[in-house]
């Protein structure tokens, strides 16, 4: 009987212990999840979600990432001067003058932009500054007016990509047309995101997803082994757009709901088509998914401007995944996008 009691006691003890320990299993020691956000980079919000062994490891890694992004933000800035550096504003200020000595990252960015100009038949044109600055001025002014057709037309005469001279050997850039200017809005964030990912390799951050104003890049793999899942903000579609598996993939979206302004009841978005010199009107939103964030960024702009047939052909040629949302909110995905969405 004593033995029977002892066995019973043992069973009860084990059960009680198991009950107590059950919730603790969830707290097993492993990498912990942290978040950081910045509001002074590329005129947008940057959110970094990631895993590291502890808070200080994460903070140190994020500090390196921030320093890197801060540097590129300054280099690629066309509005502000910074002491001791030649940035793209310096290049624009010296248009028509002598070559400007710049960092290799500016050479790389502009070379990439010229390459994109070729790939997209001029749809992505980094020398559109003269036209884009007119739209920027009117969009940010108080009186809600459109740029005049005459001034747009005049400015478009100073947007030839060939006026951009890049001398890699001398590390200089020169705009040969004194009225031309560069605007890297279509490529800078993606290009910087790619470079930022490389800095993470030297840190103790185990894995992370960086949201640079809607440009998403992922680093490493999630501790639980599931793929990174990246959603796409709905531009007014009835159902959610699919989330895509994004390990090693950058997801970049261009939408008409960002940075638009309204004149006489008509919304004008910030993506200007070189052909019409007016905002692109074909789609509400275009999302591009490719390994390179710079490519995703440039192509999301290009495909937002190009009609579906031309855009789809370009996407197939380059092997990138695309989700288009038409003005009437019809969703079109190419095969590559369906694969990433698991469909």
């Amino acid at each position: 009987m004593n033995r029977f009691k002892a066995v019973k006691a043992a069973i009860i003890s084990v059960l009680l212990a198991a009950l107590l320990l059950l919730p603790l299993a969830a707290c097993a020691k492993g990498p912990a999840f942290y978040r950081a956000s910045y509001f002074d980079l590329f005129d947008t919000a940057t959110v970094i979600n990631g895993w590291a062994s502890d808070r200080s490891a994460f903070d140190d890694g994020v500090a390196e990432l921030y320093a890197c992004l801060k540097k590129y933000n300054r280099l690629f800035d066309i509005y502000n001067d910074y002491d001791g550096i030649n940035n793209l504003k310096t290049v624009n200020d010296n248009a028509g003058g002598s070559p400007v000595t710049v960092d290799s990252e500016i050479i790389d960015l502009l070379s990439f932009a010229v390459e994109m100009h070729g790939l997209t038949d001029g749809t992505v044109n980094v020398c559109m500054g003269a036209v884009l600055s007119l739209w920027h001025a009117h969009r940010t002014a108080d009186d809600n007016t459109l740029p005049g057709l005459n001034e747009l037309s005049y400015a478009s005469g100073h947007t030839d990509i060939s006026c951009l001279e890049i001398d890699r050997a001398a590390s200089t850039v020169r705009l040969t047309d004194s009225e031309a200017s560069v605007d890297v809005g279509a490529v800078a964030k993606g290009f910087a995101a790619d470079l930022a990912l490389k800095t993470l390799e030297g840190t103790e951050i185990i894995s992370a997803v960086i949201n640079l104003g809607g440009n998403i890049v992922t680093y490493g793999e999630k501790p639980d082994g599931t793929p990174w899942s990246v959603g796409i903000q709905s531009p007014g579609t009835e159902a959610s757009l699919p989330a895509v598996k994004a390990n090693g993939i950058s997801v970049v979206t261009s939408g008409d709901y960002q940075r638009f302004y309204t004149v006489d009841g008509v919304e004008y978005n910030h993506i200007i088509a070189p052909g019409t010199l007016f905002p692109a009107v074909v789609f509400s939103q275009v999302t591009v998914m490719a390994e390179s964030s710079a490519l995703s960024d440039a192509l999301s702009t290009a495909l937002f401007i190009l009609d579906y047939e031309k855009g789809a052909a370009l996407a197939d040629r380059l092997g990138v995944a695309v989700i288009w949302v038409a003005k009437d909110k019809t969703v079109i995905m190419n095969d590559a996008a369906r694969t990433l969405a698991g469909e």
Binding site: A36, S37, N49, I216, T218, K222, Q233, S234, Y257
Partner: protein
Amino acid sequence: MMLMKAKRNKLTGDLILISALLLLSFAIYLLSGFFTTAGSSVEITVDGEFYAGYSLNDDRVVKIGETNTLVIKSGEVYMTDACCKNQTCVKQGKISKSGESIVCLPNKIIVTILSDSDSTGPDAVSY
């Protein structure tokens, strides 16, 4: 005989106790699951710090500091007022789906809809 009966009563008592404990723990497990998956929530951060969190299902007007006014209504979230000139967050309109966000850059506010369970929400949302 009496001894046997006492023993059996004791055994029955133990079984009841064990069953009750198991039921209780299962109930706690279910309840905790219920409370964390009761519906999507709206998280507001200011300069990266948690500011407030609300259920997406409860209609309310939220004053965020002195600068912004957020409305949660019928499962949709939108900014109705912002002190800044560009009004980007107000013009952005309504969000309603897990992971979507509204950003007010000048006031460092991010409003995000969090999914009803960790397993279904995306890790980030492109916009």
